[in-house]
């Protein structure tokens, strides 16, 4: 199926996709979001797709997730600036998301939280999430049932959610304020 096929699939699925975007929390913005999705669909670099409907839902889901993440980043930035005493502007050209990622990894909180659940759970989660192995194959590897794999993944995800919560609650990494425009500086 070609790009035209994807466009046709979009047209046919316009109503269900709009419904999906609303259900995902799009609310009044759902029409605009559908438009955004459309712009992504008609981009020239689209390649042949086996299942266009599923692909469209996947794109719509990612769109909503990106939107949520932008909102949270903006909220976090507002909280930090509201909390700081000086009106300090970050001088770094690196977007804060990257800084945050690097900081989190260095803290090792996620690894410790995962390892605290035991070797089996930690291994199963890493195989699933980092190595991209499917649940059935993991069940075969571990010699356990599919539902056991699911239980382990549930536990691991709960720990990751907690870690994310803990990391979001404080400043991303020990960050010092960056002050621009100084010459020889007085301390």
């Amino acid at each position: 199926m070609t790009v035209d096929g994807l466009e046709a699939a979009f047209m046919q699925n316009r109503a269900p996709l709009l419904r999906f975007l609303r259900a995902r929390g799009g609310g009044d913005d759902a029409e605009d979001l559908l438009q955004e999705l459309w712009l992504k669909v008609i981009r020239p670099d689209s390649r042949p797709i086996a299942s266009p409907t599923a692909y469209l839902y996947r794109m719509a889901n990612n769109l909503m997730l990106d939107r949520r993440r932008s909102i949270e980043r903006a909220m976090r930035r507002d909280r930090e600036w509201a909390g700081s005493d000086d009106a300090v502007e970050p001088a770094s050209a690196v977007p804060s998301a990257e800084r945050i990622v690097a900081g989190h990894q260095q803290l090792g909180l996620a690894d410790r939280a995962l390892d605290a659940l035991g070797e089996r759970t930690a291994t199963i989660f890493r195989r699933f999430r980092l190595d991209g192995v499917g649940q059935r194959e993991i069940a075969a590897e571990q010699g356990i049932s599919l539902s056991a794999v699911e239980k382990n993944l549930q536990r691991a995800y709960r720990a990751m959610i907690e870690t994310q919560r803990a990391l979001d609650a404080e400043p991303a990494a020990p960050q010092r304020p960056v002050i621009e425009g100084a010459r020889d500086v007085v301390r």
Binding site: A23, A54, R68, R69, S92, V94, A97, V178, I179
Partner: protein, 315 residues
């Protein structure tokens, strides 16, 4: 189990199911989302943590197994799997790149200059380092592109190579992406001034690029400023160039350059100065000059030189 916990577990179930690129139960997913307005938010929380998990966890050391679902003919299906979101890819790539190499080089060569002594050395890679007085530099023969500045001041003229040149000064890591920069380290404070090219400060952390004519002062805060590129490292020719430097800093610089302790009294320390001090080998002449330029009284005793505020006749 509380209702919130049940909801979260259900959301986890959906995140897990959606990770399968063959997932096609979108109508069931919509039904679940529509069943309760809180479901969408619950899903977002778990999905964000799922994206975050890949970024927060250290990448596995062993080679990654080929994903079980990879179907070579359907390239875009695979793309859908990897394309969880552009943000996730960026985060995953950064996670792969930013793995901190925490194995410290064991320095086995230390170069130290006495107070007031200047020395130039050339490292194994051809990088030239000019050391000011009271400076201690360390590096390992095994890693010639990694240098540690314990204290003092050094001007680095880095030989260009595929391997980046790194200077560690306290908790500041400076990665050279160009050629000429000056580093000063004293208690709790590191200063970097770049003459040519650029230096990346803390590549694993703040990641600030300081280019030619730029300056960074690292202490409790990180202060970014400008400097006259031509005057970077001017101490080598006995010139100390200042723009709004405090008398306290100047006293420390003088100590380093002349090899004799120079201290500013607390009352004199905070005054600022803009101008150039030319180091005169005749100390009396030098301090007469310092006195005039800085508006201080310079007295010499057994412990060295003391800079104090001028006894005021008018204040």
């Amino acid at each position: 189990m509380s209702y919130a916990e049940e909801r979260q577990d259900a959301a986890i179930g959906w995140v897990i199911r959606l990770r399968d690129p063959e997932f096609a139960q979108w109508d069931s997913f919509v039904e679940w989302l529509e069943a309760d307005v809180a479901h969408a938010a619950a899903y977002d929380t778990v999905a964000i943590a799922d994206v975050g998990a890949a970024a927060m966890l250290r990448p596995a050391a062993r080679p990654v197994a080929a994903p079980a679902f990879a179907v070579p003919a359907l390239r875009t299906t695979r793309r859908v799997w990897l394309g969880w979101s552009a943000g996730a890819i960026a985060a995953a790539l950064i996670a792969a790149v930013a793995v901190p190499q925490l194995v410290p080089a064991q320095p086995d060569t230390v170069v130290a200059t006495a107070a007031g002594e200047k020395r130039s050395i050339v490292l194994a890679d051809g990088t030239r380092v000019d050391l000011n007085g009271g400076t201690r530099l360390a590096y390992a023969a095994a890693s010639p592109r990694e240098v540690r500045l314990d204290v003092g001041e050094a001007l680095f003229s880095v030989r260009h190579s595929a391997v980046p040149f790194t200077v560690t000064a306290g908790d500041a890591t400076l990665r050279d992406v160009g050629t000429v920069f000056n580093v000063t380290r004293s208690a709790g404070r590191t200063e970097v001034a770049v003459a040519e090219g650029g230096v990346l400060f803390n590549p694993e952390g703040e990641k600030l690029l300081v280019s030619a004519g730029g300056k960074l002062v690292v202490g409790d805060a990180i202060e970014v400023g400008t400097v006259d590129a031509a005057s970077v490292g001017a101490w080598r020719s006995g010139r100390l160039v200042y723009h709004g430097a405090t008398v306290g800093q100047i006293a420390a610089d003088l100590s380093r350059n002349i090899g004799e302790t120079v201290v500013a009294t607390p009352a004199a320390r905070q005054a600022v100065f803009t101008g150039t001090i030319v180091i005169d080998s005749d100390r009396t002449r030098l301090f007469a000059r310092v006195s005039g330029l800085l508006g201080v009284e310079a007295t010499h005793g057994a412990g060295g030189w003391r800079l104090a505020p001028r006894t005021p006749t008018l204040d």
